[in-house]
């Protein structure tokens, strides 16, 4: 259970290792606030969709019945959940809703949700599926909040969550006599930040692979 929960953060992080859900990761990461909102909405959808889909698949008869049209069924379930989220957000967080814009609706076609439904939830028990959804949602959330943090700090100089500044680096910028570089909150900045983060991850992976290779080689030599 613990492994199941932790996998989404590092080992199978949907954004960093599988490059799923790039669109929102680039679009809504201008501020940490948006990223947190996106995380909540996304986690809600992925957990519930995992739950419902695993519930459907418990019954063998239903499973066989919907087999040919299962993707359509999954999409309808997900779209319904997204609509629910949309309505909730519009009612309770109107400003967040407007700044996230169309990307809330686009959770429907996010590959992660459909991918988990097909690859995990349809084959596992409801409880496991919920944990899996939580893991994926929060792992993805962690990734986009990380990106948003970098972009907002460099681009705006301060992190603002729900109206009040929680963290401000403006004195540091002032001391250095420079200004925040608004490039990082613009769209080219999004590509560059994600590209560099992925580059660093790839470099770490390469090193690991190299180390494993060396280990294997030295083991062979010992033998």
């Amino acid at each position: 259970m613990k492994d199941n929960f932790l996998k989404g953060f590092f080992k199978e992080n949907p954004l960093f290792t599988m490059l799923l859900g790039c669109c929102p990761a680039l679009a809504v990461t201008t501020t940490v606030e948006n990223a947190i909102g996106m995380t909540l909405a996304f986690t809600f959808v992925v957990v519930l969709s995992n739950l419902f889909i695993s519930l459907i698949n418990i019954n063998e008869k239903i499973k066989e019945l919907i087999q040919p049209v299962r993707i359509a069924v999954y999409i309808v379930i997900i779209a319904t959940l997204v609509t629910v989220v949309e309505m909730l957000m519009e009612a309770y967080f109107p400003s967040l809703y407007s700044s996230l814009g169309v990307f809330i609706s686009l959770i429907t076609v996010n590959c992660i949700v459909l991918g988990r439904a097909e690859a995990y939830a349809s084959k596992n028990k409801p409880l496991n599926s919920i944990v899996d959804g939580l893991s994926m949602g929060l792992g993805y959330g962690m990734a986009i909040i990380m990106i948003a943090f970098l972009r907002e700090v460099l681009g705006a100089g301060s992190i603002t969550i729900w109206g009040s500044a929680k963290l401000s680096l403006i004195p540091v910028f002032n001391f250095l006599r420079i200004e925040p570089i608004s490039f990082f909150v613009s769209s080219p900045g999004a590509f560059l930040v994600l590209g560099l983060i992925l580059g660093v991850i790839q470099a770490i992976n390469n090193k690991k692979v190299l180390k494993n290779k060396n280990k294997r080689q030295s083991k062979k030599e010992v033998k």
């Binding site: 790039c22 705006a156 301060s158 080219p188 560059l192 590209g195 390469n206």
Partner: protein, 231 residues
């Protein structure tokens, strides 16, 4: 709508507010399929066709069915179903009447259903309440913008394949860096379109400001805090 407006909307959607580089729609296919020129062309032609048809159908459905019956809140579900069935129908038609085309495009069509570019453009046109003409131009411009970026990108990635890249940057990371440079470049094309003053154009302008999450808001943030600290 005159010629100048048409050119303005097209240039603006193709370059300045490019569907991929500025609106972040369709990134998955953009990164996944742009490795070879032939596949990039196949994918983007399919997207071009589907995006126009889907936007047209969903716009009509929204304005003449959903609005009339007050079912606007169902738009996400309805739209995704419409797009999925549209893709199915196109696939069947192509398969029957142009098998050779089906061979080259067939593998990309199923991917399109989950391509957020289609749903994104369909939702955007209704969210911002475009008229029929603007909607059509917007869809065409977005499709061509997708095509242009995919083509340029596949050319660059084929070229990158032959360069001596650092190991860490190979593949997706360097592609994103190139995308960043392209995004800077395309944003510099501001102003090459003819200048028009019109109601519909004004509508677009408001939309641009609303959606441009980029600078304005954050400059305000920054100034605000800056003053605070100086006091």
């Amino acid at each position: 709508m005159n010629m100048a407006q048409v050119i303005t909307i097209l240039i603006s959607t193709i370059f300045i507010e490019n569907i991929i580089l500025s609106q972040f729609l369709g990134i998955c296919s953009f990164l996944g399929v742009s490795k070879k020129r032939s596949s990039a062309i196949g994918m983007s032609i399919s997207v071009l066709v589907v995006i126009i048809l889907a936007t047209l159908v969903t716009w009509l459905l929204y304005n003449y069915v959903l609005v009339v019956f007050d079912l606007v809140y169902l738009k996400t579900i309805i739209f995704i179903l419409v797009i999925a069935s549209l893709v199915q129908i196109i696939e069947i038609i192509i398969k029957k009447f142009a098998p050779s085309l089906y061979k080259s495009l067939g593998i990309y069509l199923p991917l399109i259903t989950t391509n957020c570019a289609i749903l994104g453009i369909a939702l955007k046109t209704v969210n911002y309440g475009y008229g029929f003409g603007t909607m059509l131009l917007y869809a065409i411009g977005s499709g061509i913008g997708y095509f242009v970026v995919m083509y340029i990108f596949s050319v660059i990635r084929e070229e990158l394949e032959q360069r001596n890249l650092p190991k860490a940057m190979k593949g997706i990371p360097i592609a994103l860096v190139v995308a960043s440079i392209l995004a800077i470049l395309f944003s510099r094309y501001v102003g090459i379109a003819p200048k028009v003053e019109d109601e519909e154009e004004a509508l677009r302008e408001t939309y641009v400001i609303e959606n441009d999450i980029v600078e304005d808001e954050n400059i305000i943030y920054y100034d605000h805090n800056y003053e605070d600290l100086n006091i």
